[in-house]
């Protein structure tokens, strides 16, 4: 009864939201038509005052000249009145020039979601620890060459002014913004891109092994500088997914050569001497302190890692292109100040971001985080919030003056049977497709949805791509996803796993007992869901036990090929699969998630010396995914191969999906220009598509 009450509450809430957005649409249409009318009368160029215009190349953003001609105005630039005091908190930054001199010659014009914002305030946020649970906040200040627009379909320019592929997707050209500057005022050019790739990412002193996503088929790219504003990535083989990688990866494709380069022995022969003068062992030691040997920007800065020596360095952190830059870094949290050289302006010419500072606190306890959210002590949060907390959050939303959006995530919980189980009899049964089909239809997905997800989730089969791309037939999402215990029983009878001793449970075809043990970790899958699935399987006579273990124990049993059943969430969107094929190659995904074909991968890696030979369809998928990645998104070949991958993956039920749950997105009501998210997920890099640079505090 209690749960039902909350469910109703959420449904009312959703209806309310739906109504609100309809009203908004109507309002916006009115505004648009009105502004279109006035525009035609207003041919004389006036000062831009934040007019909303249509017809740009990309949604919500314009190049300066594009906006000026569409809106029929000339833009003059304005700055945050506090910019001088903000700049003073950034150690190593000199006096500021005018706002015109700090912005690129062609700044990126952002059309605010609701209104032109006002400057000021501190954005309060929670993470779990220095490098844990931080991607939510990272995404609010993050920049890269490109980003996904808020529909999550289109890849639009950001740091880059534009990008272009050659015909066979082996050459990607980025055009940078003339006059773009690092947060210390030094020019940002193509040199910084080449430095990042050649001297940080590909230097074994920094990264022993380069990140896989920065390679193409295991080989490195070359980066060529055409002129200070034009840089070309030359790929050894086609990889159209590279742009999507830059759009949703935390890994920023540039680093300040003028700053980090002085400590790099390849760039500056006096690097080691310079480092030793500051009290470090050598240049790489300083690079490690600044760059953390990682292109994430949440690694400990010298402020935290080497507090005794940081004063000897030219700045506390290395210069950035992000909207905020670190000014304090302790084990309790971090503080950030607005970047006075940030490259975006709003449609009235105000330099972004509107907000002065960010304050990040570390809290590793979920319950305490929820308490702080209910108390309204945080401005925005989505990462590590689950549907379970929604009733509690909804309850306090009025008093705490915040709002909770419920948005679909990417992916869902999935179960798998160990296709290369060490016990040959079990392996034989698990490899029988009828057994996997039976286990899938034995699950009552609607009940899971009602009991665990308040009926807000989507019952579905696992198909490889999450969410389902348009080119994939919708039937696959429901393939053997119906609840049909009779079918399950008859399929199980066909496999020969019947109850021979009359104890109510089936035996293996060879007469030995059949017991499935689901060892699961709550990091990967909810306990309630596992409990229900175990019950459904028991109900069709397959004896199933379940036990919670730590994620580390899960990983180690999985690596040792000791699991009967894999249980972990699973999901990757099309854009990511274009650059990462692990979902379709044995052992199907990586060390930290779901692997159910360990011995197939051993067989492939050892060229057949050890392991178990995979079936033909496994080899087919390996070839198909490679060809799929080499074909451009949207091409006929790409669609055909994608559909074929889904047919093989789902037709063979390598993984059994259950329900895709939605997730809450929390924000305080005072946070202006906060739009409806399309998903609540890491996969599109959280807030990055929704322009957090134009958030502001409304009074």
């Amino acid at each position: 009864m209690y749960l039902l009450n909350y469910r109703l509450k959420i449904i009312y809430y959703l209806i309310y939201l739906g109504g609100k957005s309809m009203f908004k649409k109507l309002f916006l249409t009115l505004i648009f038509s009105f502004s279109a009318l006035t525009m035609s009368f207003n041919a004389i160029a006036a000062d831009c005052s934040g007019k909303k215009v249509d017809g740009g190349a990309f949604p919500m953003q314009f190049e300066l000249s594009e906006y000026e001609s569409l809106a029929g105005c000339t833009m003059s630039f304005k700055e945050n009145p506090n910019v001088a005091s903000i700049n003073a908190t950034i150690r190593g930054n000199g006096e500021l020039g005018s706002v015109e001199s700090r912005l690129p010659d062609e700044p990126l014009v952002i059309s605010p979601y609701d209104s032109i914002g006002s400057y000021g305030g501190t954005f309060k946020m929670l993470s779990n620890a220095t490098e844990a649970g931080t991607s939510d906040l990272l995404s609010t200040r993050h920049v890269n060459f490109v980003r996904f627009s808020d529909d999550l379909q289109q890849i639009v320019p950001n740091i880059a002014k534009s990008y272009e592929w050659n015909d066979d997707y082996t050459q990607l050209t980025f055009v940078l913004r003339k006059g773009h500057k690092w947060s210390d005022g030094a020019p940002f050019t193509a040199e910084d891109v080449k430095f990042w790739y050649d001297h940080l990412m590909m230097d074994s002193n920094i990264r022993e092994k380069p990140y896989g996503y920065l390679l193409v088929g295991g080989e490195r790219m070359t980066v060529d500088i055409i002129d200070p504003q034009t840089v070309v990535f030359n790929l050894p083989a086609p990889k159209p997914g590279l742009t999507a990688m830059f759009a949703n990866s935390y890994c920023q494709g540039f680093a300040p050569k003028h700053h980090l380069g002085q400590f790099h022995p390849d760039i500056n022969s006096g690097a080691d001497a310079l480092a030793q003068a500051a009290g470090y062992e050598n240049g790489y030691d300083v690079l490690k302190a600044y760059y953390g040997n990682s292109c994430w920007t949440d690694t400990p800065s010298p402020l935290l890692a080497t507090p005794d020596k940081v004063a000897n360095l030219p700045s506390d952190v290395y210069p950035s292109l992000e909207s905020f830059i670190t000014i304090e870094d302790t084990t309790e949290g971090r503080k950030y100040a607005a970047n006075p050289y940030f490259h975006m302006v709003d449609t009235a010419g105000n330099q972004l971001p509107y907000i002065d500072y960010q304050n990040e606190r570390y809290i590793n306890e979920n319950e305490i985080r929820i308490l702080k959210l209910v108390n309204g002590e945080v401005d925005y949060k989505a990462q590590s919030l689950n549907l379970e907390s929604v009733p509690q959050l909804m309850d306090g939303s009025e008093a705490g003056e915040y709002n909770v959006q419920i948005k679909p995530g990417v992916g869902s919980a999935a179960f798998s049977l160990n296709l290369t189980h060490p016990d040959e009899a079990k392996r034989g049964l698990f490899r029988d497709l009828r057994f996997r089909q039976a286990m899938s239809v034995a699950i009552n997905r609607n009940e899971i949805n009602d009991v665990i997800h308040y009926g807000l989730g989507t019952p579905q089969q696992y198909i490889g791509f999450s969410p389902r791309p348009d080119f994939v037939d919708a039937k696959w999402s429901q393939h053997y996803a119906q609840y049909d215990p009779d079918l399950a029983n008859s399929l199980l009878d066909e496999t020969g796993a019947v109850d021979r001793n009359g104890d109510g449970f089936r035996e293996l075809p060879n007469g030995e007992p059949l017991v499935l043990n689901i060892d699961f970790a709550t990091q990967g899958i909810g306990g309630g869901e596992v409990e229900l699935v175990a019950r459904y399987w028991n109900e069709v006579g397959v004896k199933t036990n379940f036990k919670e273990i730590t994620p580390d124990e899960y990983r180690s049993s999985q690596s040792a090929n000791e699991l009967d059943v894999g249980a972990w969430k699973k999901g990757m969107p099309l854009a990511l699969i274009m650059g990462e094929g692990k979902l379709f190659v044995p052992p199907y995904e990586d060390y930290f998630a779901h692997r159910n074909a360990m011995l197939w991968s051993e067989y492939i890696d050892s060229n057949g010396d050890s392991g178990v030979q995979p079936p033909g369809y496994a080899y087919e998928m390996i070839e198909d995914i490679a060809a799929f990645q080499a074909s451009p998104i949207g091409s006929e070949e790409n669609k055909r191969l994608g559909e074929k991958l889904v047919a093989t993956m789902t037709g063979n039920l390598l993984f059994i999906g259950t329900v895709a749950p939605p997730f809450p997105v929390y924000h305080r009501n005072v946070l202006g220009n906060f739009t409806e998210f399309t998903t609540a997920s890491y996969e599109y890099y959280r807030t990055y598509p929704y322009l957090p640079q134009q958030w502001y505090f409304s009074n």
Binding site: A132, A305, I368, L371, P551, F592
Partner: protein, 337 residues
């Protein structure tokens, strides 16, 4: 006197041995936990979406020196502490442990010792009253409150108070300092700020400890009051408070002093859970992180080493004090009267 020096030296040696053994046990126990700190560190990264392979983990292990055999790692760790006073680097936080613990361990100790003093300040007089009062209901009431302290788990008390404070004062009461005092040098304002928040963990930890100490004092008092020497004193005409304080109370103090180290340990053991809930930035919370979440041997080892050192030191001092004040032990140690 020779005997006393011998006694002291033996105790000191035993203390060092205990310290060594505890460190060894902590270090080896953490060895049995699946996945080392390199893997946990990368697992954090993975939850962020970073794509990590088994080779990445091997590379990280090599970088952190975790690929060396256990004996080499332990001996280099312990010798660095003994010879250089250096605890090394924390694997999960990527910072110098000496730097990390410099203020925090003292904060933890301060909280624990304050809680301990708080509990003794209440437990000793109240225990005596409870044992000797003529009013059964007073004794029962005191007993009830102290049993409540034992029965209620610390974290529950902390959570209840937090919830209360959140609802009525809009303050979650987390942390040891307000934000503006977090990273500034000590000053009188900072002490005030600290006390305005630290009372909560001190109260929560102290209540539980009070209950234990109170029960001990009460039981000892009841035991001693019936003994012959008390009766003899009574026969000599001593009565009331002066009798209590001079004889049974003095004698029941021995076991209380003796259990100082033990009580400190008990409070410190309760601290991490309370610290986690209250988001205290001290070493108890770090210990849980290091032990349970990140398997950070160096950090967990360092905290436990410091804690054991403190307790061993306290025990050593109480042994000496007892040897001096208690004639029975003095006699055993020094021989003769």
């Amino acid at each position: 006197m020779i005997n006393f020096i011998q006694f002291t030296l033996t105790r000191a040696l035993l203390a060092c041995l205990t310290l060594f053994l505890v460190s060894l046990i902590v270090f080896s126990l953490m060895e049995f936990v699946p996945s080392n700190c390199a893997e946990r560190y990368l697992a954090f990264k993975n939850t962020q979406g970073s794509n990590i392979t088994v080779e990445d983990i091997a590379a990280e292990e090599k970088k952190l020196g975790l690929d060396r055999p256990f004996a080499v790692r332990f001996s280099s760790w312990i010798s660095n502490i003994v010879l250089k006073g250096e605890f090394g680097q924390s694997c999960i936080l990527r910072m110098d442990i000496n730097e990390l613990l410099s203020g925090r361990f003292m904060l933890s100790l301060l909280i624990c010792i304050t809680a301990l003093l708080f509990s003794y300040a209440i437990a000793i007089p109240v225990g005596i009253i409870s044992a000797t009062t003529k009013y059964k209901s007073l004794d029962n009431a005191l007993k009830f409150i102290s049993y409540l302290g034992i029965a209620l788990p610390n974290f529950l008390v902390a959570l209840c108070i937090m919830l209360f404070m959140t609802i009525y004062y809009g303050d979650t009461m987390t942390g040891l300092f307000s934000e503006e005092f977090e990273n500034v040098p000590w000053s009188s304002d900072r002490v005030k700020d600290f006390l305005s928040r630290a009372w909560l963990p001190i109260f929560v930890l102290g209540w539980n400890a009070t209950a234990f100490a109170l029960q001990t004092v009460r039981a000892l008092m009841l035991d001693e009051s019936d003994k012959l020497y008390v009766m003899a004193a009574r026969a000599r005409g001593i009565s009331g408070m002066s009798l209590l304080l001079r004889y049974p109370a003095k004698h029941s103090l021995g076991p209380v002093i003796n259990s100082l180290g033990f009580d400190l340990n008990r409070i410190f053991s309760a601290l991490p859970i309370v610290a986690l809930i209250l988001i205290l930035t001290e070493s108890g919370a770090l210990l849980i992180e290091a032990l349970a979440r990140s398997n950070d041997q160096q950090l967990a080892g360092a905290i436990i080493f410091l804690l054991t050192a403190t307790i061993v030191f306290v025990n050593f001092v109480t042994d000496i004090i007892l040897a001096i004040i208690d004639p029975r032990i003095r006699k055993g140690v020094m021989g003769g009267g």
